[in-house]
């Protein structure tokens, strides 16, 4: 009997003593944290992709609280919805941003270039970039080894087996910019999604002279300047033998697409051109 009493006593005393010690320790090492950080973290998407430029969602939340402003702090994944929620919670004003999407600016791949060498080695664009120009010979071309695919946290990039080039899933891409950061060739660019998801862009980043780039690839920009002349809005600039369309100025008139002699300018999500097709048929009939 006394054994039972004794052991209960010992346990109770030990418990009480530990509780007292723990209480003082907890007081001593107390971390005072703004409870809003947790709330904000819950409001953010929780993908921890790092697209905002911080280590994760919680880190962004901490920065919003610490700065008490939303300048330069934006979750590209959550977009305007999440940002306006956060703004109303914090009593701040959210900056509106146009939705963006990752765009692959190379159309070489297996179909438009002739491979001169075969790459053998670790399937990582960063390593291939160190050791060779590309299988087709273009020093700026997409290497097609899928470093962008491996970093994408949203499963929105895939390599197409027939072209050997990455394709961006328009529904899934949140424009976090991870693929843009990893691409050693700077082939991927974040561009405005555009009205009705329609975009016009130059699908080439080669800065070599026209004659040289044309030797390696059928669809490279040769820097001829035709698009620059035809553009009524001054959206196109030629720099280093390469045309670039400013998405803020572009009015999606598509004149440059028709004018481009190599087909380097791409249009996305436009309805098919009926008139153009008719003209071609007529022309062939005359011949």
């Amino acid at each position: 009997m006394s054994t039972i009493v004794f052991s209960i006593l010992v346990l109770v005393l030990t418990g009480v003593a530990s509780a007292v010690i723990l209480y003082f320790v907890a007081q001593k090492f107390k971390v005072i944290e703004d409870p809003r950080i947790d709330t904000l973290t819950d409001m953010l998407p929780g993908a921890n992709c790092g697209g905002c430029g911080y280590a994760g969602c919680r880190s962004l939340a901490e920065n919003i609280i610490n700065n008490n402003s939303l300048d330069g702090l934006r979750c590209p994944v959550g977009g305007d919805n999440v940002m306006s929620d956060i703004a109303s919670f914090m009593g701040l004003e959210a900056s509106q941003a146009t939705p963006q999407i990752a765009v692959i600016r190379c159309n070489g791949g297996k179909l438009n270039t002739t491979p001169k060498v075969r790459y053998e080695g670790v399937k990582d664009c960063l390593y291939a970039h160190l050791n060779m120009s590309s299988e087709g010979g273009c020093p700026n071309a997409c290497l097609g080894l899928g470093s962008c695919v491996s970093v994408c946290a949203f499963d929105s990039i895939k390599i197409d087996n027939t072209t050997g080039l990455p394709i961006v899933d328009q529904e899934k891409c949140v424009a976090c910019g991870l693929c843009v950061k990893i691409c050693p060739r700077k082939v991927i660019e974040l561009r405005n999604k555009g009205i009705k998801n329609r975009r016009v862009f130059v699908s080439c980043v080669n800065t070599e002279k026209g004659g040289i780039s044309k030797k390696n690839c059928n669809v490279s920009c040769i820097g001829c300047g035709k698009c620059e002349k035809v553009c009524e809005f001054g959206a196109i600039k030629i720099e280093n033998n390469l045309a670039y369309i400013d998405y803020d100025k572009c009015k999606l008139c598509r004149k440059c697409v028709v004018e481009c002699p190599t087909g380097a300018i791409h249009e996305v999500n436009f309805p098919p051109r009926k008139e153009k097709a008719n003209v071609e048929v007529e022309a062939s009939q005359i011949k």
């Binding site: 001169k116 060498v117 053998e120 080695g121 670790v122 990582d124 960063l126 390593y127 160190l130 050791n131 060779m132 120009s133 590309s134 010979g137 020093p139 970093v151 070599e208």
Partner: protein, 443 residues
């Protein structure tokens, strides 16, 4: 037999061109000379399009600290200065020369007579090495004169000459020792004087018995120069391994050989220094081994810098039909050439042609955890561990695992039974770590 203490492997030697004497390669009609052919800051161009140049004339001048001069290997007219493709397929600025005759600049001794007297003092020697654009011919193309400008408070005890040639197939250093041993030995004397040391150790792998015999006989005339035969084991010729094999001193991680009182140079560099100091001849040519099992006429050639690789291959009977890879350098550390129109550079010591079967990699399978890569790593690293981290892009973790100590010898990749691309991942880690360090330095 002396050797390094950790790791290493012994690939098939395949020294097929050991008995082919050095042939002088005829001058090409048009040559392409890259403006910068060394490690470090780019050199500044000092010639213009349309200018007539003579052999030995300065083309590009070194204006920064780690930089080397570049001289014209040909006489003729500069037809253009434009981008030219190098063997990786990228384009670099180069000087195109239409070759006419072979007219040397005045003041250059072109005779074969051996000059033994060293007239210059140590400072003048270093100055001369700098002026003549000598770079390390072991492969890294590091400007040689910098090794001889010792940091303050450091003193050298040994000059170490690397004549190991541990890469399979390569025989240029072997031929050099057989055909111009005297020149190399005088070069070593000059380097000893420049450094102010008494002792020079020349390491030669024992698979070159003729070279060892000849060098030992001749070296008796030069006090303080010792020829040391070394065990045939790869990578015996790696700087840190060679220092250990010869002196039993270990270079600390991330430090230079001068930390343990050694300066290491290749035997080819020693000969180039001899030419520069005694004959006033800049570095414009090198010995190149064209080899491979399927090549019809294997040769050791004396090639001027800037010769198109294609013309060298054509000279030796053209590309064999089943060619899988053309490699610049040896099979272990060399890099595959992606464009044969690329010209040779100062450090092109070999062109190796391998058939499809020889050159293709093993199919990549899962790691077996056998640990062979760890056993063979001469730097005592864990290639498997670093490769795993690199696959997950944890570059800072790879830095903690000492990835920067990797000498890229390729033993791990060569040994791996699962065909894992270990060397690729290690090189990738090193590249990313240097990038991270550069950013850290900026902060």
């Amino acid at each position: 037999m002396k050797t390094f203490h950790r790791g290493g492997t012994h690939p098939e030697e395949n020294k097929l061109t050991n008995d082919c004497s050095i042939e002088v390669f005829p001058l090409p009609k048009q040559a392409v000379v890259f403006v910068s052919q060394h490690l470090g800051a780019p050199a500044t161009l000092v010639v213009e399009k349309g200018e007539k140049v003579k052999v030995g004339q300065l083309l590009a001048k070194a204006e920064q600290f780690i930089c080397a001069n570049n001289h014209s290997p040909y006489s003729g007219t500069i037809s253009k200065i434009d981008l030219a493709i190098d063997f990786t397929g990228y384009k670099k600025t180069a000087i195109y020369i239409d070759v006419e005759n072979d007219e040397w600049l005045e003041g250059i001794d072109t005779s074969n007579e051996i000059v033994r007297d060293i007239k210059l003092d140590s400072k003048q020697i270093v100055e001369k090495i700098k002026e003549m654009g000598i770079v390390g011919l072991g492969g890294a193309a590091f400007p040689t004169h910098i090794k001889y400008m010792l940091p303050e408070g450091k003193k050298a005890d040994y000059l170490i000459i690397n004549a190991v040639e541990c890469e399979p197939y390569l025989t240029s250093d072997n031929r050099l020792m057989l055909e111009s041993a005297e020149e190399a030995l005088i070069g070593i004397e000059i380097l000893k004087k420049a450094l102010g040391v008494e002792k020079a150790l020349v390491g030669i792998e024992k698979n070159k018995p003729k070279a060892i015999e000849q060098m030992t006989n001749l070296a008796t005339k030069y006090k303080g120069t010792e020829i040391v035969p070394l065990k045939t084991k790869y990578p015996q010729g790696a700087e840190k391994q060679l220092i250990y094999a010869l002196t039993k001193r270990e270079v600390p991680s991330g430090k230079l050989p001068i930390e343990v009182g050694c300066v290491v140079n290749n035997i080819g560099t020693a000969q180039a220094v001899y030419y520069a100091v005694q004959k006033n001849r800049p570095l414009i040519q090198n010995i190149l081994t064209l080899t491979g099992k399927s090549v019809k006429q294997r040769k050791n050639l004396l090639v001027r810098v800037g010769t198109p690789i294609q013309s060298v291959i054509d000279y030796c009977g053209g590309l064999p039909e089943d060619t899988g890879k053309v490699i610049s350098g040896g099979p272990m550390m060399g890099k595959a050439i992606s464009d044969l129109s690329a010209p040779t550079v100062k450090t092109t010591s070999a062109i190796l042609i391998m058939s499809n079967k020889e050159s293709s990699r093993k199919e990549e399978t899962n790691c077996l955890r056998c640990g062979k890569c760890v056993t063979v790593c001469p730097m005592g690293l864990q290639p498997i561990h670093i490769a795993q981290l690199a696959e997950n892009r944890l570059w800072e973790e790879t830095e903690k695992s000492s990835a920067m100590d990797c000498i890229e010898c390729g033993c791990c990749l060569y040994t791996c039974p699962a065909g894992r691309p270990l060397l690729d991942l290690l090189r990738l880690s090193k590249n990313n770590i240097s990038e991270i360090r550069r950013q850290r330095a900026k902060r």
